[in-house]
């Protein structure tokens, strides 16, 4: 059994949005990730996926709860430890256009982290940049060019090289392929898989393409309105989903071939997701849940391990 590199305990991230209103973007989430594992996070737009990712890498300070990395709570780290945490924990973003400084050359973008952590200097640094470019499928000559000279897929590779430059052990990838064309998505996913093996990386992989999340993840967590609804091994989640929301979500995925048309029984959800400013009492899914009961409006169901490694928050279990 390998150790947990990351544990989060009842993490909340609330935002004040004026008028004394609060958005509970992440509202009490707990899970752990083992070394070398990929945990996928899915959920509809606004469910809090990016917020949890950003809270884990420390871009946001948690409103409540604990984020524990390699056995240490990150809010308790001293300056030196914090620096080391910031190096080991890297993030890759959805929009490869917005996340790279347009005025910096690719080589400088990649070298920034190497400089900041004093990992290499002079010729050795140059070598390292070239090596990283080749590692992500680009050419050393690309170091002198600017981001706008590259396609979306290539820019995403630059973002990956930048993250790798500081030799991280954990990468949060927030929709790293959503902005890319189908034929390019596979290039980037294969690269991420290869790097994981070679560099012994642990991934938190956020996406809304369920087929891709299943492909890349060992385990998958399903979020809805700031809360985790279900978490299980990928195969288990797809074959024996427990939570009514997971069921509906999986039933909505288009078939992979025309001959399978109509084989997936669709669970049509009524209504729209409620506003996170004014979430329903009790279970957040109850306004659209086909199995809702009286109790669901009163109490939020507990986060329970109902089978080994299969967690769910629902009064049915």
């Amino acid at each position: 059994m390998s150790e947990n590199v990351l544990e989060i305990h009842d993490v909340k991230k609330h935002f004040n949005v004026g008028n004394k209103q609060v958005v509970k973007s992440v509202d009490g989430i707990s899970f752990s990730i083992k070394k070398g594992e990929t945990l996928g996070i899915v959920g509809e737009s606004g469910s809090g996926k990016s917020t949890i990712g950003r809270t884990i890498v420390g871009l946001y300070e948690a409103t409540a709860g604990k984020v524990v990395f390699e056995g240490k709570e990150i809010s308790q780290l001293d300056r030196k430890e914090k620096r080391e945490f910031n190096r080991k924990m890297q993030m890759i973003f959805q929009d490869p256009h917005a996340s790279l400084n347009p005025r910096m050359r690719v080589g400088e973008i990649i070298a920034e982290g190497i400089d900041a952590y004093g990992l290499a200097k002079g010729k050795a640094k140059q070598e390292r940049v070239f090596q990283l470019l080749e590692r992500v499928g680009l050419h050393p000559d690309h170091a002198t060019r600017f981001p706008h000279e590259f396609s979306g897929g290539q820019r995403q590779r630059i973002g990956i090289a930048r993250a790798l430059a500081v030799q991280p052990s954990f990468i949060v990838a927030d929709e790293p392929i959503s902005a890319l064309d189908v034929s390019i998505q596979a290039q980037v996913v294969n690269l991420l898989e290869d790097l994981q093996k070679e560099e012994d990386l642990t991934y938190l992989f956020i996406a809304h393409d369920l087929a891709m999340v299943k492909h890349i993840s060992d385990r998958i967590g399903v979020m809805y309105l700031g809360k985790m609804m279900e978490l299980a091994e990928s195969q288990t989640l797809f074959q024996e989903p427990l939570h009514p929301y997971t069921n509906a979500l999986l039933s909505a995925i288009p078939v992979s071939a025309p001959k399978l048309r109509g084989t997936r029984e669709r669970i049509v959800l009524g209504g729209d997701p409620p506003s996170p400013i004014n979430p329903p009492s009790g279970c957040p899914f109850r306004t659209r849940c086909p199995s809702t009961m009286e109790r669901c409006a009163v109490v939020m169901p507990e986060w329970k391990e109902v089978k080994k490694d299969h967690w769910v928050a629902c009064h049915l279990y």
Binding site: D181, M212, H215, S256, K259, R266
Partner: protein
């Protein structure tokens, strides 16, 4: 089934600072009544520009239809006056775009927008138009329509806005609905609702749908026929079964292999297509896919492959399917036999 639309050798270009972009380079396709044709391909391959041309909406002055016919019934859309086009749009052709906000006026109540759409094309009283608008809102699955009628777009969620856009597109019973990435911005549960809605309406009204998408799952779910575009050209077209079961163009095959298969129990490594699409400022003279194609031959770089037909609906443009290529194979086999 009778033919509703036929596009022949359509070419569209844009003048830009960098030079001329040949966005659509000789596209042909057709659609019959009651049919759903999916146009797939990666971003920039000319899907939206093709749709704009069919609607007579290629942006002027930079864009220009350089060649081709767009036959809608007995009329050629490329030859119609602005006024005539406006009449057709909204009455005979309905449009749905990716971002519902681009088709909705944020300062105007939802109900008013639908009612105005109806009144522009149909001789009804204000009250009759309102009744019709309410009915359309119900048709696209919006509840509490009386209240929703007098709300503004920002009070609707993304999925509801897209349903309103569909309601507007349907206001005049169009024979043809052109939907350009109608679900790309939506979550999968909402996408499923919108696709069901489109299928449902099609069944009720026997309308034809041109569905532009890059999502092969959406194609597998709803299309009757598929046209695969690459760098401004349709490289393969066929029934949805022909395209998924028996693709004849390496690009189509590549697309199918590069997405994970949810219905397969084993985790297989994805097979990406290397490289990226060509620049449309200087499109290749030969096969546009040659630079990324694992099977590329010398002839591919030099000459654009001809159309090779496999069935009533199925064709591809790839030298691998040329019977001369088979002859080359035969020659090799014959040669090796002689060597033995």
């Amino acid at each position: 089934m009778s033919r509703l639309l036929e596009v022949n050798d359509l070419k569209v270009s844009f003048r830009t600072y960098g030079g001329e972009i040949q966005a659509v380079r000789g596209v042909s396709f057709y659609i019959d009544e009651g049919e759903t044709l999916a146009i797939v391909g990666e971003s920039g391959c000319g899907k939206s520009v093709t749709a704009q041309a069919v609607m007579g909406m290629v942006p002027v002055p930079h864009g220009k239809v350089k060649n081709g016919q767009i036959l809608f019934g007995d009329r050629d859309i490329t030859k119609l006056s602005k006024k005539k086009l406006q009449q057709i749009r909204g009455s005979e052709i309905g449009m749905i775009f990716q971002d519902p906000m681009t088709s909705l006026n944020p300062t105007m109540k939802i109900g008013t927008q639908i009612r105005e759409g109806i009144l522009k094309h149909q001789k009804l009283s204000k009250n009759e138009a309102k009744e019709k608008a309410l009915e359309l809102l119900r048709l696209v699955g919006i509840s509490d329509v009386e209240k929703r009628y007098s709300q503004y777009p920002h009070e609707f969620s993304g999925g509801m806005r897209q349903r309103v856009v569909i309601a507007i597109a349907l206001a005049c019973d169009p024979k043809l609905i052109i939907a350009d990435e109608p679900t790309t911005a939506l979550d999968v549960t909402i996408q499923a609702q919108i696709l069901d809605l489109l299928k449902d309406i099609q069944k009720k009204r026997n309308s034809s749908i041109i569905l532009i998408t890059h999502d092969l799952g959406v194609v597998a779910e709803v299309a009757d026929r598929v046209a695969v575009m690459y760098a401004g050209v349709v490289v393969e077209s066929g029934t949805v079964d022909e395209i998924f079961e028996n693709p004849k163009h390496p690009y189509t095959l590549g697309l199918l292999k590069s997405v994970p298969n949810l219905d397969s129990p084993d985790k297989e490594r994805l097979i990406p297509i290397d490289g990226s699409p060509p620049d449309l400022f200087a499109p290749p003279t030969g096969c546009p896919f040659a630079a990324r194609c694992p099977f590329a031959m010398e002839v591919c770089v030099m000459h654009m492959p001809d159309k090779e037909t496999f069935s009533d609906h199925h064709y591809a443009k790839c030298w691998l399917n040329d019977n001369r290529a088979i002859k080359v194979e035969e020659m090799i086999t014959a040669g090796s036999e002689q060597l033995v």
